[in-house]
C-alpha cells in the first residue's frame, strides 16, 4: 500500500491526509479496489480528467499534485452517486472529493463564479449576495403575520429554518409561501429566525470551504440557542443535511426534519384538506441530499400519492440511482464554468427523462430544483409543456379553490 502518511509534494497541505482519513470511515480509502464503478456512475465522470477512482490512484502514486493542476474536481456536484455504489464503502463524497476541493481552495484554484458565492456567504450570510436585513422579506404582507423569534420572543413548537434560496430566490419563494400556508392549515405553532438566520453552509462546505461552513454554522447555532422550540423543520435538504449530520460535530444538536417527513407524520390531518383533483402524471425527482445522503425516499412519494387524481410515475433514474439536478456541492454556483467546459447541463438530462417517462409534472422537494428544471425545460425539445412544481405547491393546489 503505497500511501505515504505525509506527502513530499509541495502543493498538498500537511492536513490533507489527516483530514482525508479523519472523516467517518475515511481509512476505507486504503481498501479501494480501483474497480472504477465510482467513475462510471459519476454523471460528469466522462468529462473529468480525474474522476474519483483515478484521484485515489494519484494519491497512491504520490502524484496528487497533478489533480490540483487541473480544474477537474469542480465538476463534482457532491451527489453521492459514487458513494452509493462503492463496493468498498469508501466515503467518497464527504471524504475524497470534498477534501480535494478543500486543497484546491487553499491553493487558490477556484472558478470566479464560485468565488463570488463564497464571498457573498462570508459577507452577507447568503450565497446570493442579498441583503441580510431582507431575509424575511418574502413573508411581508402574509396573513396571518409570521412569527419572527427575535421579535415575539416566545417559545414555539417548531422552528422553521427557511434557508437561502427559499428566502431570496423569486421562484423558490413560491414554494416557501405554499409551505407557510400548509403550516397554518395544520395549525402548527411555528416561528422563523428572520435576520438572525444565516446560510446553512452545507453547499459551501461541500465546495471545499470548511472554514466558512463553521462560521455560518456557529452563527446559526448561536441563534438556535437563544430560543425555545421542540424541533427544527426545513424545506431545504441541504440545510437538513447540515443540521442533521454536520452541526452535531460542532456541538449544535437539535432534532430536525425535512418538511416531507414532517408532513407525512401529519398526513391523516392533512388528507381531508386535499379536495381538488390533480389529474396529472407526476414524476418525482429525488434530491441527492434527501435521497442518497439521508435515505428519505418514501415520505415525498406518500404525500404525492395522497393527492386525489394524481398518478405517480417513476423516471428511469429514481431513488438511489436518482440523477442530480447539478446544483449540489457548489454546482449551483458553477453553471457557467460547467457549461463552458462540458456544453451540457445535468438539469436538462433530468428534464429529458421526465418527458420520456410521460410526465406532465416534475415534482421536486428541494429549493435548488424548481429554478434549475424550469430553465432546463426551456432548452429541452418536447419539454415546453412540462410543469415543475414543489410538493408543497401541489399540496396547496389540492387544498385551495
Amino acid at each position: 500500500m503505497a500511501m505515504s502518511a505525509v506527502s513530499q509534494s509541495r502543493k498538498i497541505t500537511e492536513q490533507f491526509y489527516t483530514s482525508l482519513f479523519g472523516v467517518e470511515d475515511g481509512e476505507r480509502i486504503k481498501a479501494c479496489l480501483q474497480c472504477a464503478t465510482c467513475s462510471g456512475i459519476c454523471p460528469f465522470g466522462y468529462i473529468m480528467d480525474y474522476p474519483p477512482g483515478k484521484i485515489i490512484s494519484t494519491i497512491r502514486a504520490d502524484i496528487f499534485d497533478d489533480v490540483l493542476n487541473t480544474d477537474s474536481i469542480w465538476f463534482c456536484v457532491s451527489c453521492y452517486a459514487c458513494t452509493e455504489v462503492c463496493p468498498a464503502k469508501i466515503p467518497l463524497t464527504t471524504g475524497l472529493m470534498t477534501r480535494t476541493k478543500e486543497e484546491m481552495l487553499l491553493a487558490g484554484n477556484i472558478p470566479s463564479e464560485l468565488q463570488d458565492a463564497l464571498m457573498n456567504s462570508q459577507r452577507y450570510g447568503n450565497p446570493l449576495g442579498e441583503s441580510p436585513r431582507k431575509r424575511a422579506e418574502w413573508a411581508d404582507g402574509l396573513s396571518p403575520e409570521i412569527t419572527i423569534m427575535g421579535k415575539e420572543n416566545r417559545p414555539v413548537d417548531v422552528l422553521w429554518f427557511v434557508g437561502d434560496y427559499p428566502s431570496y430566490h423569486s421562484r423558490a419563494q413560491l414554494s416557501t409561501k405554499s409551505f407557510f400556508k400548509i403550516l397554518h392549515i395544520l395549525n402548527i405553532d411555528f416561528g422563523i429566525l428572520g435576520r438572525e438566520e444565516n446560510s446553512d453552509g452545507d453547499s459551501q462546505r461541500l465546495a471545499g470551504e470548511r472554514g466558512l461552513f463553521e462560521i455560518l454554522a456557529e452563527k446559526n447555532g448561536q441563534a438556535f440557542s437563544k430560543y425555545e422550540f421542540n424541533k427544527i423543520i426545513t424545506t431545504d435538504p441541504h440545510a437538513y443535511n447540515a443540521i442533521k449530520n454536520e452541526y452535531p460535530n460542532l456541538g449544535i444538536e437539535y432534532p430536525v426534519q425535512h418538511y416531507t417527513e414532517f408532513l407525512v407524520e401529519k398526513l391523516e390531518i392533512l388528507k381531508p384538506f386535499l379536495v381538488n383533483e390533480i389529474q396529472s402524471r407526476v414524476a418525482y425527482h429525488d434530491p441527492c441530499y434527501l435521497g442518497r445522503a439521508n435515505g428519505i425516499y418514501d415520505a415525498p412519494r406518500q404525500l404525492l400519492e395522497s393527492i386525489p387524481g394524481l398518478e405517480l410515475i417513476e423516471m428511469s433514474h429514481n431513488r438511489t440511482t436518482s440523477l442530480c439536478c447539478g446544483g449540489g456541492g457548489g454546482g449551483m454556483w458553477l453553471d457557467g464554468f460547467q457549461w463552458e467546459k462540458a456544453h451540457v447541463r445535468m438539469s436538462e438530462w433530468r428534464v429529458r427523462e421526465a418527458v420520456s417517462a410521460g410526465a406532465d409534472i416534475l415534482a421536486v422537494s428541494c429549493p435548488y430544483e424548481a429554478p434549475r428544471f424550469e430553465d432546463a425545460a426551456k432548452m429541452v425539445q418536447g419539454a415546453s409543456r412540462l410543469v415543475v412544481k414543489d410538493i408543497s405547491e401541489l399540496l396547496i393546489e389540492a387544498i385551495e379553490n
Binding site: L105, L106, L118, M119, R123, S131, R133, G211, L212, I215
Partner: protein, 254 residues
C-alpha cells in the same frame, strides 16, 4: 521594492442607503461597510507584484468597522505589514483630510510605489490618489490596469475612454490609482484568514484628527429625484417630426 496600499471602507450598496435627519450625510446607523472595490484590486496588484519581483507589501487603512477583517485577509494573501490609523471615523472621512493625515505614516515607510483604488463610491471631494500624490509631492497616474518595473521606472498600463490604452513610464516613487488588477482579486479560504488572525498583527499608525471643515461643504444630500417618464413618439419620420414640433411649441422652445 517597497509597496504601500491604502484602502478605504465604503458604504456597501447591498443595503439601501438613507439620508440622516440633518439631511447632509448618510444615515450611518444602518450602514454596512465594505472594502472599496477598486482598493481590493489595488491590494491584488500589490500581491501580484510581490509574487513577480518579491516586493514588500504594506497595507494601510484607518480604524472603522470591519477594517481588521480586511487587513487580516490581506495578510492571508501574503501582505507583509498591516497598519491602521487610530481616530474617530464614524461620521465618514473626506479624502483631503485623509490624504493629509496619512502622509506621515506613508513617508516613514519609504515606499517606491503607493497603490490605491482609482475611485470610491463615497468620494465626495475627488479621489484619494491624486490628493495623496499632491501631499507627498509625487507623480500620479490613474486608471491603471497593469504595472511592470524597469530600473527606476514603472511602466503602467493606463486606460483612456473609448478603449484606448497607453503604456506610460512613470518615475518612482509614484502614486497609482488602480482601475483593475491584472487578474481579479483572489479568494482566500476562511481558514487561512483565521490563521492570519493568529499570526499577523495590526500596527497603529499616526493618530488622525479629522478636520471636517477641510472637506466639501455639503448643503444638502438627497436621494435621486424621480425624473418624469419619457414619452415615446411613434410613427414614420414625417409624423414624428410634426409631433416633435408640436411638443417644442407647447414647451415654448420654438
Amino acid at each position: 521594492m517597497n509597496i504601500v496600499v491604502v484602502f478605504k471602507m465604503v458604504p456597501d450598496l447591498v443595503e439601501e442607503l438613507s439620508i440622516d435627519k440633518g439631511g447632509k450625510n448618510l444615515d450611518r446607523s444602518w450602514l454596512r461597510l465594505i472594502i472599496n472595490e477598486f482598493d481590493d484590486h489595488a491590494i491584488e496588484q500589490a500581491i501580484l507584484l510581490k509574487e513577480q519581483i518579491g516586493a514588500h507589501v504594506t497595507v494601510v487603512s484607518y480604524d472603522i468597522d470591519g477594517v481588521d477583517d480586511v487587513l487580516f485577509t490581506a495578510a492571508a494573501k501574503e501582505a507583509d505589514r498591516l497598519i491602521k490609523l487610530p481616530g474617530d471615523f464614524k461620521g465618514g472621512v473626506n479624502n483631503h483630510t485623509l490624504a493629509r493625515c496619512i502622509k506621515k505614516t506613508i513617508k516613514e515607510l519609504q515606499p517606491d510605489l503607493i497603490l490605491t483604488g482609482v475611485q470610491g463610491n463615497d468620494d465626495l471631494d475627488g479621489s484619494l490618489g491624486p490628493l495623496l500624490a499632491e501631499n507627498l509631492g509625487l507623480p500620479y497616474v490613474g486608471y491603471v490596469s497593469g504595472v511592470q518595473f524597469s530600473e527606476n521606472n514603472a511602466i503602467v498600463k493606463k486606460e483612456f475612454p473609448g478603449g484606448l490604452i497607453a503604456n506610460m513610464s512613470v518615475n518612482l516613487p509614484a502614486v497609482l490609482g488602480i482601475q483593475a488588477s491584472e487578474s481579479p482579486p483572489r479568494y482566500v479560504a476562511v481558514s487561512k484568514v483565521r490563521q492570519a488572525m493568529k499570526t499577523a498583527s495590526i500596527e497603529e499608525g499616526e493618530p488622525v484628527e479629522l478636520e471636517p471643515s477641510s472637506g466639501p461643504n455639503i448643503v444638502r444630500m438627497y436621494q435621486p429625484e424621480v425624473a418624469q417618464r419619457a414619452t415615446m413618439i411613434e410613427g414614420d419620420e414625417e409624423e414624428i417630426a410634426i409631433k416633435l414640433i408640436e411638443i417644442f411649441q407647447e414647451l415654448g422652445v420654438l
